[in-house]
Subunit: 281 residues, 2 copies
């Protein structure tokens, strides 16, 4: 596995691979890798002749009061895990390589960034859209793989690609869960053992809502109330949002007529956890 830190070197590598007709898959990460990330890498290996994993804790997608400084980092462990998966290139730029003096560009996907996490984390998705556009121009992948756990992010990146005409295929990879159902996340490392148990309320809430829909419930307000009640059984859980919305537009819906997205953000201890599920009537 080659480790590349310079943007110009990464572009040259990709140009050379492309000229030889090889298909490049990109898996963007912020490191602190878990089995979810590794399953994206394996997916990338099947879809491309070469797999590039980027590891960059992107400062611009964290608000000032958020956990940028404390975000888990373990480069040596990440490097070993990626090497063992057969990653071809680990792209690992320094912040000043990505954001030089006088950096002045910002990409916004307006409507899709307004609800859900966008309402609670202003500026977050501008940071995400901008860094992903940069990674696409630096790595020039044919295909890029993102986790469905970050559902709103995935939809924003799909829209970024469509609206700005990036020639990149976007793959949404199913959320990878612990055996008890907790969605894998680097931020699960923030949980102590009590909080780890409490964190199961997200998945229980999604499953409860799924059962409500399975039993014929179609009223959005009732489903959201059921999901909230399931979370509320955990005294330590503080709800950021519970939203039932259209899986494309992310606009809230009142009545389930087609597949809908149930999306949650819940704070437990110092962790802010998100999860989601597509519910089908």
């Amino acid at each position: 596995m080659v480790i590349v830190e310079q943007i110009s070197e990464m572009q040259r590598w990709s140009d050379a691979e492309r000229r030889q007709g090889r298909r490049i898959a990109l898996v963007p990460t912020m490191g602190a890798l878990h089995e979810g990330h590794l399953s994206l890498v394996r997916d990338g290996k099947m879809r491309g002749d070469r797999v590039v994993v980027s590891l960059f804790v992107n400062p611009t997608q964290f608000a000032p009061q958020e956990d940028f400084a404390g975000y888990p980092r373990d480069f040596e462990r990440d490097r070993r895990l990626l090497d063992a998966e057969g990653t071809d290139v680990l792209f690992h730029p320094a912040p000043q390589e990505m954001y030089p003096e006088g950096f002045d560009a910002e990409i916004e996907i307006r409507d899709l960034s307004a609800p859900l996490c966008g309402a609670v984390r202003p500026g977050h998705f501008k940071g995400v859209a901008t860094v992903v556009a940069k990674l696409f121009n630096i790595v020039r992948p044919h295909v890029a793989i993102f986790g469905c756990k970050d559902y709103q992010q995935l939809q924003i990146i799909r829209r970024l690609v469509r609206d700005l005409n990036f020639d990149v295929e976007i793959i949404g990879h199913p959320t990878v869960r612990e055996p008890d159902g907790l969605a894998m996340s680097s931020r699960n490392a923030y949980l102590n053992s009590e909080e780890r148990k409490a964190a199961l309320c997200l998945y229980r809430s999604l499953r409860h809502a799924e059962e409500m829909v399975g039993c014929g419930e179609r009223r959005g307000a009732a489903i959201v109330a059921g999901a909230r009640a399931e979370i509320a059984r955990e005294a330590s859980a503080r709800i950021d949002y519970v939203s039932l919305c259209d899986p494309e537009s992310l606009r809230e819906i009142d009545l389930v007529q087609d597949a809908v997205l149930l999306a949650l953000a819940v704070r437990i201890g110092k962790a802010r956890l998100i999860d989601n599920m597509i519910l089908k009537p």
Copy 2:
């Protein structure tokens, strides 16, 4: 000359040319072509193995009260002129091809968009940056050529390329002028013969300031006052701005120590005209 209207067809053409190792030059235009545009095309022919000219009157860079509807259009004439210059592809998409239903993306180059035309035309440079990023992803040029007459636009596109890591070389082509000094512009077509004479005040103002600097004047305020006075001699001219600023940051400067940009925007009749000159002490 091939005329391409579909984005996917344009991308396929460029991919095929690139795979054969050919260098692609792009000249983005809004049509209503004049000698200034044609000199960009000739420059493109020298710099690339293939020249693509885009012709798209971009609605998102016009504010509601501006001249989008009345902007001069003559496709047949433009087509003939480009064909005669040996253009390889004329990319001519419909608005709904560029901005499909639910279009949601916006690129902003923040600080560089704040002064000069950005202060008078809010949203204009967001429209420019977004459509140019799209054109780069659609045409995938190695080099793109822009006129220096739109100096702020040129600097914004340079910053767009640097900050978002587009692998495109940006060329600024010197302003092409009428024999009497008026900068060529599609909007000169708005001028009647009286106004056409009055419009010379822009160039006279720039030349006057140049002479002031040549005679040793270094005080920004004095140079701007001299330039304004020259324009004020034309009763029909209304000044939007006269600004002496740093050619990189576009921040106003008080004292000429190095090369500076003098930039003007002046309304004459229903035309809003811009011009600029680099002044060297």
